[in-house]
Symmetry: C2
Subunit: 654 residues, 2 copies
């Protein structure tokens, strides 16, 4: 048998396990926002009876020095908790350090021996030896004080009382704290946290087609037209303005109006058929203006508190410069032509997909990353990524890491409407926000279940929902058939259930005509034609939008996802939920039936609100200013969609 | 910006996640037994619409070659399942491989195009290109057949029908299967499984003190006396005979009878105070016989189907040879003396703990490991490890890995009665079996909750309970006060709830006198004196023990833990459970009140049994041979402890 080699025995003194937050055993980071406290939990196990001490170490990734904060034993089953608040955007790391604490162990035992009336002379000498060992690692002022303590403990002729007093003094305990012998410290694996700007969690989106910002279908809207709309959007309370692709649009196989496979002269084509002789993903469509115009738009928006979000759609029209310059980045058919997009038997001949596993993938992936860097250099910090689930997961993980290492403030919204685990995987590997199934969750039961999963399940650690109430691709039957009340219902739900939500223009007009019966596409969709938005009257929902967005800004309860508690209602079609915050609790009730009035008793969670059984209290409807006095566990609510679809109630003392 | 280097883009084509079984993200292996199928589940995610193929690879750790078995897509949320059966004891590894399957993708799309009436000439050429690519990796007979298929697909002048027939033929699909392009294969991380002998899961233990195998308290029992008892123990159905430490016992500070701090002349001391001038952990107590006698005992036992289990108690009496030879392995006090065991204010002066973090820990740990190897060389394959939770977790992980790498068949039972996570941690890091809280779970509710946690919680993956009904340290109040019926109840519960259980001698005599009121220690405990067992009459419970152990051997339903389903009983004090097995289902009902008769209706799980609502069926009580005809969802059971405490019913067809 070979003799065991010493280094094999430098093994951990304690077991550190089940760190939280943690995702997939540390494979993926969890997400947080800057300035929000991170609570860390961990099991620390040590054999025998020794006292263990532990601390939480954290830093911005790439820094050398760790900040430390104490970990505290919280309950009997070996669980410790600590907290820290990341002060900067970027990737953070944390780990746990734990070590046997010989001095604290000795103190605890000394007390028990004294209580049992045992002779502790020998123990005091042991304590002195521990202090001496600590002295070898001491520096500065503590050296003198430790040496004093050592002298007293070791001094046979001092009175026992004096020695015990020093031994058990809080001063000595403090001097002896901390891991002073490196070899006894056990360190956990590193865990990472993506710390995003606040806007990643709490944001209000508006989507518009720049070319539609015109009062004449024959005149192509421009960046300047968009700029002119900014004050109105700011007044409505939006802080992200998302633009579909702004790049040159291909001519070949251009789609006609209403997604017709052939286009007529003058048809403007789909902005997602990116690239023409005028340039590709790093160019702007000449009819929108110049790159300088775009940069001006970005600056003007920011001055009003609005960030411009761009679409990032990695596909090319047949006229895209890459097609000629890099045919090797596409799929080549046996006859030498490039393959257009297909989902057989459906064909999308106006776009070519990229072959992310082509031989020159280094070139292609780098070029894709550089597109993001190009627009970031022009002031864009938010990207809505088109169909990320049709590009490799590995590509996104690489690309987002590359970008966020340089620009940690960047926000990427994943527009993946696909099976749950694929959407989750994209969020885990780096997307900041994600589209959701919200548009298809229209009953109380569906909303309760879905929001509970998002807010209270594992997804809460990494999946930030963006509740769009409509999109250019999704006009749900609920909106088609429910009239303005349906739009009101979905607006209140989006704005109060999710800290991030959005609408696509036309929503404020209650636009509800589908391409055809059974379709979720709009008739005369802006995807294929100019819709002269400036000719439209003021949107009927605008006052409500402005009010809701102001309420959102004023109430921290609406600025996070995890503080929602659904309340029992006798009539299930009225959805009720509490949104809690230190600064004030809100209760929202929404009639999900846009056609009929309903009433119900709502269970009021008095314990959570800290209100007594018989204590009257007031709730104020932030939408109307009305004030109601409630008392007891049941509140009566009646919502008639002809008058109102919801209450957003601030709980006040009577 | 530096140009991206190619190798950075050799990234996984698919995401492989959430492999099961898996413990703590792969940090610890799960446990299985040889010959029992292992079911593996995994999520496999791929972007886009490509067909994915996957397989499960497994091998004994250390082997170079992998065995493979298919993984199959089981349900819609990206989940795949596969199975393999480890044929050898030892540590096994498995991993998952997945790859995009271009040919299957192409076939699926071809069918859709044909169904849509599209022209597929160009697609057939694409298919031909895929077959040609495969050809480059082909060998043997398949080369010719692939070349034929390629010729047909690529041959413009063949009829379209003939080409399509070849394209979609199952023969070609089979030839094209498998990952033929290494660069497209994604491999999961390795996961490990400890595969133990069947005895690790299903075993029946008997514990006795060899020195008590005598009919005269003045005559020290010997290995030969133990050997003489083997036929009886085999007839009772035991297959593990566990002996407390058999080593020389220290003289210094030897404990007297009933744990008295001072001993009288002739007192034999505690076998756990290991070591004297006659030797340490690798010696046998001379009064028991010689090492050769012990080896003979081991051989005789094995011939009767019994394994001898030794105690592994890492502590030393003050007279242990290590104390002189290796004082550096102990804790030294300031006055130069060694520190005895203490849990202040309690003192255990007859033993010295080892200092596992001493400077020469390489020497100490290696010496401890070598003790196990020493006894393994003498035929011992099972060790009951004393108080492992007072030695470092790191030591056990190292030591068990060292031993099992050489002797994978070895079984180690952890005797840790401590907080749950510490017991769990020991099981995770290598102990084969573990003691449990069973002795303290005496009500139906406690038993249901505890067994459900063990059988159906995460612990089922790694924690093998050994349900001892009593031990030399634990005589529960339930047994002290419940009379023989209490012993019968606990025997049936232990033997039918857990595939591994044990009793300590005296149980069959219904020995129930505690050291004093409120103590779980035995009066005149064998830990401190010789109890002349051979003078006792045959144990009153022996017939029941023999019958239960025979039933256990004959019924696979009692040989695993995970097949238990608790049944609702109207009277909760009667515990009822189904134990399922292909070879026959059992229903056990136990009256947990040893004092009074009770009756109840038991919910019969007809669906699980495959029996119709109105179909009569028989149950046979394996304890008595009685047969009852039951019908419907409710069965009446009455259990009077004066007659019987339980039914063990085999479900039979009427």
């Amino acid at each position: 048998m070979p003799a065991a080699h010493d280094s094999a025995f430098d093994l951990p003194r304690v077991v550190i396990q089940r760190i939280s937050p943690e995702l997939d055993g540390g494979r993926h980071p969890v997400k947080r926002v800057v300035g929000r406290e991170v609570a860390v939990g961990v099991d620390i196990l040590k054999d025998g009876h020794d006292v263990v001490a532990a601390r939480l170490c954290h830093r911005v990734k790439g820094e050398r020095k760790w900040a430390t904060t104490p970990l505290e034993f919280v309950f009997d089953d070996e669980r410790w908790m600590g907290r820290f608040t990341p002060e900067r955007v970027g990737r953070h790391q944390f780990r746990v350090e734990a070590w046997p604490d010989p001095f604290a162990t000795w103190c605890g035992e000394l007390k028990k021996r004294i209580d049992a009336g045992q002779d502790v002379k020998s123990e005091l000498l042991e304590g002195a030896a521990i202090v001496r060992a600590r002295l070898a690692h001491a520096a500065g002022a503590s050296t003198v004080r430790l040496a004093d303590a050592h002298r007293t403990l070791a001094h046979d002729e001092e009175s026992l009382e004096a020695r015990i007093e020093v031994a058990l003094s809080p001063q000595l305990l403090e001097l002896m704290a901390g891991p002073w012998d490196e070899t006894t410290v056990t360190r956990s694996e590193l865990r990472e946290i993506v710390v995003d700007p606040e806007l990643a969690e709490f944001s209000t989106w508006y989507e518009l087609f720049p070319r539609s910002q015109t009062d004449d279908p024959a005149r192509h809207g421009t960046f300047a037209d968009v700029e002119a709309r900014l004050p109105q959007l700011a007044a409505l309370g939006f802080d992200v303005l998302y633009l579909p692709p702004i790049h040159p649009i291909g001519q070949s196989k251009r789609k006609g109006r209403n997604n017709s496979p052939s286009c007529e002269p003058g048809d403007v084509g789909s902005p997602w058929a990116i690239g023409s002789a005028e340039g590709g993903h790093d160019a702007v469509h000449p009819q929108l203006g110049s790159l300088a115009d775009f940069e001006k738009l970005v600056r003007s928006a920011r001055a009003l508190g609005i960030e411009v979000a761009l679409d990032f759609a990695l596909q090319c029209s047949p006229d895209h410069p890459w097609v000629k310059r890099h045919p090797e980045w596409f799929f080549v058919r046996p006859d030498g032509t490039l393959r257009y997009a297909e989902n057989p038997p459906k064909k999308y001949e106006d776009i070519y997909p990229l072959n992310f596993w082509c031989t020159d993938r280094a070139g292609l992936w780098t070029a894709c990353r550089d597109l993001l860097l190009f627009w970031i250099a022009r002031g864009v910090t938010i990207f809505r990524v088109d169909n990320p689930h049709t590009k490799p997961f590995a590509f996104w993980e690489w690309c987002i890491a590359e970008v966020k290492a340089r620009h940690p403030e960047v926000i990427l919204l994943a527009e993946a409407f696909t099976r749950p685990k694929r959407m989750q995987a994209l969020a885990k590997l780096g997307f900041t926000q994600s589209y959701t199934y919200f548009t298809w969750k229209n009953t109380s039961e569906e909303l309760r279940a879905y929001v509970s999963e998002l807010a209270h399940g594992e997804m809460a650690e990494y999946y930030r929902p963006n509740f769009f109430a409509n999109t250019p691709d999704i006009l749900h039957e609920y909106l088609q058939r429910g009239g303005p009340a349906a739009f009101r219902v979905r607006l209140v739900l989006a704005a109060t259930l999710s800290p991030t939500y959005g609408i696509y223009s036309g929503y404020e007009q209650c636009e509800n005509v589908p391409l055809r019966e059974g379709s979720e596409e709009y008739l005369h969709s802006e995807k294929y034609e100019i819709k002269p938005r400036l000719r439209e009257p003021a949107g009927v929902l605008e006052p409500e939008i402005a009010r809701l967005n102001r309420i959102r800004r004023e109430h921290p309860a609406l600025q996070r996802l995890d503080n929602v508690t659904f309340l029992y209602t006798e009539y299930p079609g009225i959805l009720a939920y509490l949104k809690r915050a230190q600064q004030g609790d809100l209760i929202v009730t929404v009639n999900t039936d846009p056609h009929s009035a309903h009433d119900t008793l709502v269970d009021v969670p008095l314990e959570l609100l800290g209100i007594g059984e018989t204590e009257p209290f007031a709730v104020r409807d932030l939408l109307t200013g009305e004030r109601y006095v409630w008392q007891g566990r049941h509140a009566y609510v009646r919502l008639d969609p002809r008058e109102r679809v919801a209450h957003v109630l601030r709980v006040e003392r009577a």
